[in-house]
Structure formats: C-alpha cells, structure tokens
C-alpha cells in the first residue's frame, strides 16, 4: 500500500473527485496560485485550471454563500476555509443557508457542499487562531461533521463527503498535514457515520478523534498498557452522525469511558457522548464518564500556557485512572 501524507491524501481525494465529476470545484483563499496556505491544493490549479480552482478575496460569508448557491443549482463545491477559525464570520451561511435549505424548501433543493480546512490549535497562534469548533457545527441539524485522524480516512471520507448530497463540515488539522500513513491502492471511499476501533482493549474505552487521537490519546494508551491498563480506543471519524453502536458495544465490554477532545468542555461533543452512553448503557457503567478537553479558557499564546490548556497524555492517564479507580 502506498504511503502518503495527510496533505497528499486530501489532495488526491479532491483531484480524483474532480476527475470523476466536473461539477466539483474548489474555492477559497490562496487555494489556486498559492497552492493553498498549507499546500493542500498543491498542483490543482495547474492541472484543472482557473475554472475549477478559485482564489477568493477575504470574504468568507460571501464565498461560503456562493458555495451554497452553486450547490442549490447542482454544482458540488468544495469551500476551503484557510482555517476553521475564519468560518465564524460565515457561521450564519452555514447554520442557516446550508443546514436548513433542504428542510425549509420541503426537499425542493439540496446543498451538496463540503466546507473544509484545518481546525484546532497549532502552535502559539493564540485565542482567535486556535479554536476547535466541532461542537457548534454538530449542534446544528442538517449538517454532517467529519474529522479524520489519518491519511487513509482523510482521503476516503473526503471523497464520500464530496459525493454526499448534504452540507458536510470537514475538519482537518494543520499540524497533521505532514503526517504520513498507508492508504489503499486506487479508488476507495469510507462511509460517513462509521467509526473504527483503532486499538483493542478491555479495561476502558477511550473515544477520541482527529489530532488529539494521534498525538495524545494513543500515546496515553501505550503508557497505560505499560501499567497493565488496556484501553480500547475508538475513533468515531464522523462526529455527526456518530457511530453510537460501536461506542456502546465497547463500553458494554469495558464498563468505563473516557472522552478526549480538543474542544472546550461546556456543551462540547464529549458531553453528548457522555450523555448518550450513560443513558444507553447505564447499567454497564462502573464509573461516571470522564472527559479530557481543552481548559475552559481562550487559548493563550505562551507555550507553557498553551500546553497546560490542551489535552495531554498525563491528563488522559489521570482520567483513565479515575474511571478505573486506580488513582
């Protein structure tokens, strides 16, 4: 199996879908001539030309709306936000126009648009530029939210998202773009709403996704294994729809759950997972669900404060020990 970077995987997905369907185009700031602020669209302008790859002015609400309008009449836009932080100026376009159009029009129109770009913190970008915003999108009915954690899933899920007839929020991570991983030969897709058990275990279930899964959760699982605690780690891959059965099944086995996410705690995605699991497999739970999230503060610039604010291996280990009563 070929090994590619996360960046290349996304690039391949867009390239293949553009070849497959000429209704697909890419639009965003610096995606064309600059080849993408993070080079995700490298070479696409050269290959597909200015009719398929569009550089925009700084006008997120405007070009997000162009994506929705174009999708309503049959195109399949990929709208890149340079980072998801900048989507907040387009939040109304996404939460109202994209999310509600199909329902509000009684099925007259659908909005097959993908909004994608990197989310979460990188390094020292401070409060406005480090936001993990999945919760405020997953909260809105009509949207699907996808957050891949590796190149294979990134490619397979992005291809599926582009083919989906609904608005899909596709959140990547700029610090993962260089991560390399194997992907299947040739054409493949991965369905939305299907999670993956990325690590088998029996003592505790840990649900985690995107960057923190790779950089924090799996590292913590290894450390825990050394102490004889075998964590089963689930990557839901899609936040909405969530693969509830996979999580329930694991918790029925381990009787314990820790959710590790980069977002803020209050009304975060982890709160929903905690509630659903407690509600649906209450009798199997030997301990209340623990959550590891970003601290409930705007992320500071200083390195030490940034590190202290984000999920860490130590925090995950502490949470696991709490639910396993080892502390």
């Amino acid at each position: 199996m070929p090994t590619v970077s996360f960046r290349e995987a996304l690039n391949q997905a867009m390239d293949e879908e553009m070849a497959r369907d000429d209704r697909v185009f890419l639009m965003g700031e610096e995606v064309a001539q600059y080849n993408g602020a993070y080079k995700v669209s490298q070479g696409l302008l050269q290959k597909w030309g200015p009719k398929r790859i569009w550089d925009t002015p700084i006008a997120e609400a405007g070009f997000a709306g162009i994506g929705v309008g174009a999708a309503m009449v049959g195109l399949r836009p990929i709208i890149e936000f340079m980072t998801w932080n900048f989507s907040l100026v387009a939040y109304d376009q996404i939460a109202n126009n994209a999310a509600k159009m199909h329902s509000m029009s009684g099925g007259n129109f659908s909005v097959p648009v993908v909004f994608r770009g990197p989310g979460g913190a990188a390094h020292n970008l401070a409060a406005t530029h480090s936001q993990a915003l999945e919760a405020i999108y997953a909260h809105i009915p009509g949207l699907k939210v996808v957050m891949p954690s590796n190149p294979r899933d990134a490619k397979g899920l992005l291809k599926t998202a582009i083919r989906d007839d609904n608005p899909v929020i596709f959140i990547e991570s700029e610090v993962m773009y260089g991560d390399r991983g194997e992907i299947p030969e040739g054409e493949y897709t991965i369905p939305l709403g299907v999670g993956e058990v990325v690590r088998q275990g029996s003592d505790v279930t840990i649900v985690s996704w995107s960057k923190v899964l790779q950089q924090v959760t799996l590292k913590a699982a290894d450390r825990l294994a050394e102490e004889g605690i075998n964590a089963e780690v689930i990557d839901p891959r899609t936040i909405k729809p969530m693969d509830w059965e996979m999580i329930f099944e694991s918790v029925r086995k381990t009787n314990r759950l820790v959710v590790v996410e980069e977002g803020w705690p209050f009304a975060g995605v982890g709160a929903q997972i905690s509630h659903e699991v407690t509600k649906n497999v209450f009798d199997y739970l030997d301990a209340p669900v623990e959550r590891v999230t970003q601290e409930d503060v705007p992320l500071p610039y200083a390195h030490n404060l940034e590190v202290a604010s984000l999920p860490s291996v130590e925090k995950v280990i502490r949470a696991v020990k709490t639910v396993t009563y080892r502390s």
Binding site: G62, G65, V68, G69, L75, N97, M104, G106, N108, S110
Partner: protein, 339 residues
C-alpha cells in the same frame, strides 16, 4: 442619482406599449392584479387567524415583480427575501400551493415547512424565500457562478430590500460578482423603509445606486411604480448579463402599502397615513390599467372580466388550501438530510 442612472430615465410617456404585444400587456395586468388580490386575501386570512407567523405582504410593489420577471426566461433564476409572495405568484408558482403553504398545509410549495417567508419551487427556478436579511445575496452570486461555470446563457435576478444594502453580505456578494463578472442582476426593491427605519436613517447614501460605485458596477435608479420602466431597465440589465455576464445593481423605487408585516400598523411613527394615501395615487395596477385603456389595449369590460377571473382563482386557492391536509407527523424527520 448616479451617472449611469441618468441613462435609464423613461423616454416620453407617448406609446408606452411600443413593441409589446397585447397578450404581453394583458398578461402583465393579470399578473399584477393576481398578486394584489392574493395578498389582500392573505391579509384577510391572517386576520382570521388562519395564517400564522410573520407575513410580509407585497401590496404596492407589484410593478417590480411583473416588470422584472417579464424581462427573464423560464430557465433563468430568481431569488429573493421573505417578502416573496408577489414574485412567486408572478413567476407562476401555483396560487393554490402558495395559499396552502401560508396555511401550513402538506400541499404547500414546501409541504408547509417554510411558510410565508420561505417559498421555493425548483420547477420554476424559484430559489426562495429567505428570511435572514441579506444572507441570500451571496447565494445569488453562487447561482450566477454556476450559470457561468456551466456556460449557460442564463441570468439570476436577486431581489432585496433597501435595508439589506447595509449588511456585510451585500458588500461581499457585490464585490465578488463584479470581480468575477457573474451574470446576476441585483434589484433593490426600495420601498424607502426597513421596518420603521427610513433609508436616510440607515444608509450613508440616500441614492442607493451609488453603492455600485464601490464595485465599478453598472447601476440605475428606476421608477418602480411604472411596470414599463421596470421592464425596460431590468431587460437592459438582463440582456447585458446574458451576453457579457456583467452584473448590474438596480435601485427600483417602490412603496409598500401595508405595514412591514401583518403584525405592524400600516402607518406609524415612521410614516403618516397621508404619505401612504399620497403614494397610492400612483398605484401601479391602476396606472397600468390607465395606459391599457388610453392606448386602447383593453376596455372597461375587460377589466371587469379580469377581476372576476382573478377572484375565482383566489377563491379556488383558498378552498384548496383549507381542504388540504396538514403535513403528516412523519414529515418531521423528513427532508432534514437528503438521501
């Protein structure tokens, strides 16, 4: 008034109907009358509590919908804000389905899901019906983008209120449309007020066509009570968009007879009853009837028959709507996601 606006002042009032067939002219009259009567009926039903929510009527603005839509083809596109009944009816959405929508029935244009502010009909390229002020303007740019992307020879008409020109999405959409030369005609239905706020109190420029200067976009100021002027100005812009895909901003000056919505008084602190009565003296439906009579296109008898015919259509629409079923409860989770 902006430079380019001058170009579009009406020529002599002689033979307004030049080059327009009798069928066309009578079609305009019937369309405007239909819209007027539809809205009067909607007002009545709202008063009776049969229509709920926000209901923004079109009375007084009929020359805009009729004149503008007369300038486009069936495969062109239309998008507007929540004051959408007039444009929908004129575009040919079934009055029965429109009335049923207002009553929240399953036979409505959106199965009773959108209501008064959110009319849609894909078969008519009628893309709504949008209730967040200004938020549909970028959608219009997106529709025009798709037209150009597919090398279609179509245009998109985007209607908005005067108040919508003060919000950010107007600026972003117009800049993008001009920068990329998208075939869209932005039509400000300038009825002088956004709710109770006059243009003078909401826009730094009273001549809204001046806003086009920030995008080097062609613009014009148009008498929106005169269906002939609306038709000619929109036609000029549409033809330009169709051939060169150049966008235009039209400040079409009209007037709303009713309150902002059914929950607002017709006159209030922001305008006097006298002002409203004065405006009604240039009633667009009446003025068109005058022209048709003076130019011998139609007789008194014709208007009486037309009145009856329209009345009948509206009555049938009401009966249809009242007899239609509510949406079944299993509709609640339908249309949330497309399959």
């Amino acid at each position: 008034m902006s430079q380019s606006a001058a170009l579009m002042k009406p020529e002599s009032k002689q033979s307004r109907t030049l080059g327009l067939s009798k069928d066309t002219l009578l079609g305009w009259y019937n369309g405007m009358l239909m819209v007027r009567r539809f809205e009067e009926k909607a007002a009545q039903l709202y008063g009776m509590g049969k229509i709920g929510g926000f209901c923004h009527l079109y009375n007084g603005q009929e020359a805009v919908s009729t004149g503008a839509i007369a300038a486009i083809k069936a495969d062109d596109y239309i998008i507007t804000a929540y004051r959408d009944h007039g444009l929908a009816i004129e575009r040919g959405l079934d009055p029965r389905a429109c009335m049923a929508e207002l009553l929240g029935k399953h036979t409505g244009v959106t199965k009773g899901k959108g209501g008064s502010m959110h009319f849609f009909d894909k078969s008519k390229n009628f893309l709504g019906g949008h209730a967040i002020v200004g938020a549909h303007i970028p959608l219009a740019a997106g529709i025009a983008f798709a037209i150009k992307y597919r090398d279609q020879k179509n245009v998109c008409l985007c209607f908005m209120g005067d108040g919508a020109t003060n919000i950010g999405s107007f600026h972003e959409a117009l800049n993008l449309s001009a920068l990329w030369q998208l075939p869209v005609v932005y039509i400000i239905e300038n009825n002088r007020y956004s709710m109770g706020t006059s243009v003078q109190r909401s826009s730094a420029v009273e001549d809204l066509s001046k806003k086009a200067l920030a995008y080097d976009m062609k613009s014009a100021v148009v008498d929106g009570m005169d269906v002939f002027e609306v038709y000619r100005s929109v036609k000029e812009a549409v033809d330009r968009a169709r051939t060169t895909s150049e966008p235009t901003l039209l400040d079409i000056q009209t007037y709303r007879y009713r309150g902002h919505s059914m929950s607002d008084p017709i006159a209030g602190h922001y305008r006097t009853k006298e002002e409203v009565d004065e405006e009604k003296r240039h009633d667009p439906v009446m003025m068109l009837a005058e022209v048709l009579k003076s130019e011998k296109v139609a007789t008194e008898e014709y208007f009486e028959v037309a009145e009856k015919r329209v009345k009948k259509v509206i009555e049938e629409a009401v009966t249809f709507a009242e007899q239609s079923p509510e949406p079944p409860l299993d509709e609640l989770y339908k249309d949330v996601y497309a399959e």
